[in-house]
Amino acid sequence: MLQRKIKADPFILGGTFVVIAILVVFPLTLLFLNSFKFDGAYTLQNYATVFQAKRNYTALFNSLKLGLFTSLFSILLGAPLAWLVTRTNLPFAKLFRTLFILPYMIPPFIGAIAWSQLLNRRNGYINRLIQSIFGIEGYVFNVNTMPGLIWVMTLYLYPFVFITVAGALERMDPTLEEAARTCGSKTMKIMRDITLPLVAPSIAGGALLVFASSIANFGIPALVGMQGRVFVLTTMIYSYMHSGGFNGIATASALSIMLMAISVGALLINNFYLKKKQYTLISGKSMRPKTLDLGAWKIPCLIVAIAIVFVAVIMPFFSIGLTSLLDAWGADITWENLTFRNYRYILFEYKLTKDALKNSFLLAISAATICMVLGSLIAYISVKTKIRGRKALETIAQIPYTIPGTVVAIAMILAWSGNYGVNLYNTFWILLVAYVAHYVAFAVRTTSASLEQIHTSLEEAARISGGSWLTSLKDIVVPLIRPGLVAGWFLIFMPTLRELTMSILLWGPRTVTIGVAVFEMQEAGYVQISAAFATLLLLIVIAGNLLVKWLTRGKVGI
């Protein structure tokens, strides 16, 4: 149906276009140009330099390797688990469904810390356990390697595959499989001929998301990889920026463009190719697919499921929690060695963590609020007006989220460190600008979804009654989409609170954030206090999630 569109205040709407231009278009254009700029001229020199150095090469290669293997293992782990919880009579399937998604809730750098504690070469808990059981010297596992990276990354990202595949399996019309049965096909053959081909696009879609996310991730390769001198693109860019130098930022720009090309490419394939191939599997009647009786396999499957929850969720939580209570790291775990001192320290004594808490809360609240205002305006323009360029506006506003945070941060540095009249470098503001640019897409998406449900006539009725555009917005539109706004706010607040990827490139002496503090403490070897801080963050994340779930009546959150 064609919806009538509403005339709106040109000043506010025009302002939105300008803000997006400044926030997104300007920095990203600069980044693109800067990657070609060498000694004041535009050349391909930076890209040539990038490819001359073996370490850049290796970083690129490592990123691809990490992405490919993480996707592969995510499929191998996520797809069978999805089938198990949706299509079989596995006991406690609903509970497992929640538990299998849980790892994604753990901030990636916290997972990285946990696995460093469990599997590090010198005194990882698991290595120590194996040493004491088998009485051997030396280590069995070393997390600071490429396989270690893939391991930690897979455990963080496989839920993407799990969620998409479980969704597809659940929505699939059961008669598609039943029809095959009446044709004479047996269970295993139906899986091969019907079920698997039908969910294949969803599996590939989930895997591409995993690929793009693992390539864009900074926390895990930084905390797990760098110690073992395994560099990927994000950490390579970080180290160029860290070591400074004038050409450092030029090389970083060139690497950023490459990183961006790879991850955006993966997402484009997903959006334009796979989304179309995802068959409409939904049936008219919502009949739940019949579950397969596991029979004798029930107990073995249950054991595997429990083992996976144990490894993916319980072990990391336990490890972080235990470490946070340790008096001395590396010593034997005894009652005398346990203490709450670390918590007292981070909460009341240590300036770094106290500042980080204050800054991150302030940043997350501001970013979420600004994003919601800006994002709602963009969504409103796109859904409810007929201003020219409204779809372009919406698309542009979504771009920064598809780009790795590292790349956005570099673009912000280029734009806002004084070269163009505004110097925000090392300030609170550059962090805020970057957060808003990266996360405004969330706000646009949640709000436009709610706005599409409101018929224009509701607004028109308000204006016929004599209200101005702003009045109708305030009295009619906002109250109707309030649940969407609240959910959107939390969807931005939660990840910005724990943001690391952009913050690590943008923070200054007075603007340390929670993510940065954990990272710095871990790098400095303050293992227990960083664990205590990480535990605190985990508790905040869990509480936040429960709150969102409660506020949205279970629609948002894990």
């Binding site: 029809a179 049965r181 044709c183």
Partner: protein, 356 residues
Amino acid sequence: MSKVVLKGLSKSFGEVNVVNNIDLEINDREFLSFLGPSGCGKTTTLRMIAGFDMPTTGEIFIGERLVSSVDKKIFVPPEERNVGMVFQNYAVWPHMDVFKNVAYPLKIKKTGADEMKERVLKVLSMVKLTGMEKRYPHQLSGGQQQRVALARALVMEPDVMLLDEPLSNLDAKLREEMRFEIKDIQRRIGVTIIYVTHDQAEAMAMSDRILLLHNARVQQLGTPRDLYERPENQFVADFIGLINFLKIDVADRDARTMATFTSSPETPPFEVNLENTGKSSEGGFVFAVRPENVKLVPPDSSSIRGKVTKKVYLGNILDYRVALGKEEIRVEASSGEEFQPGQTVGLRFESYVLFK
């Protein structure tokens, strides 16, 4: 090409009994419909015959073969029953083209390539899809997808075909067309068909016999004519076609069974025939008469009189509402004298049924 026998078939989901003790023999080459309002257990019964649901009690025979028996602990899985099934939402596989969809049952049976091609093309021409072999389901209309589903069920030359509301997703015109085609195909190949529908017109038009279900129970089994002309209970009478229900009081007078309308005692008693109720001839009954079986006559030609309240011209018939005491009945007249609202008319009941 087999008969199907259900013996004492019941199904409960937890405490809820959704199919209650059905006994039924479906003859070879018969077209039998399960008819009834939504939720009466039609699909569940069909799925027990297909083998997707396990009966709580009872037995099912397809041909001479016992395929399901609770007591004897026999349960043949769907893939070994050789029944063809057509689902309401087509269930055509979106990742296979028309040919592959239809050829699938033959592929499972490891039919040779030449024979497979021949048989697939034959059924495709039967359902009028010749030339569409390479199309994918998303390139087909709903009606064409339904034909693919039909062809896929036909190609396996099943002992019995089960169709679960196969036409309910199609628009009205296509639905009528498909009715005839399905019926025509059945006549040509002589397969036994069990057809589920909630649409009485569809069931009447296609079936040899109809099993009318309500509240998990069999209400009546019979030909369309039986159900329309000799409904066994009020539900059947009401479900099939239009009917007026009037309460009457019956009493024997001078060896004649006389009735008066409960709601208008002033109407003189008239004689009724109680044979088909088999009940004692005293007390309250429900007098059921179809609109076309009431004749309107001039007031002096009948002792039962009413007053026309409404008249609608529908082309082939005149649709009257006539007040009879405190009740109003519907009368459809296709010939005879025309009356105007407000006029008093005489009523004559040409055929009726009584229910206790």
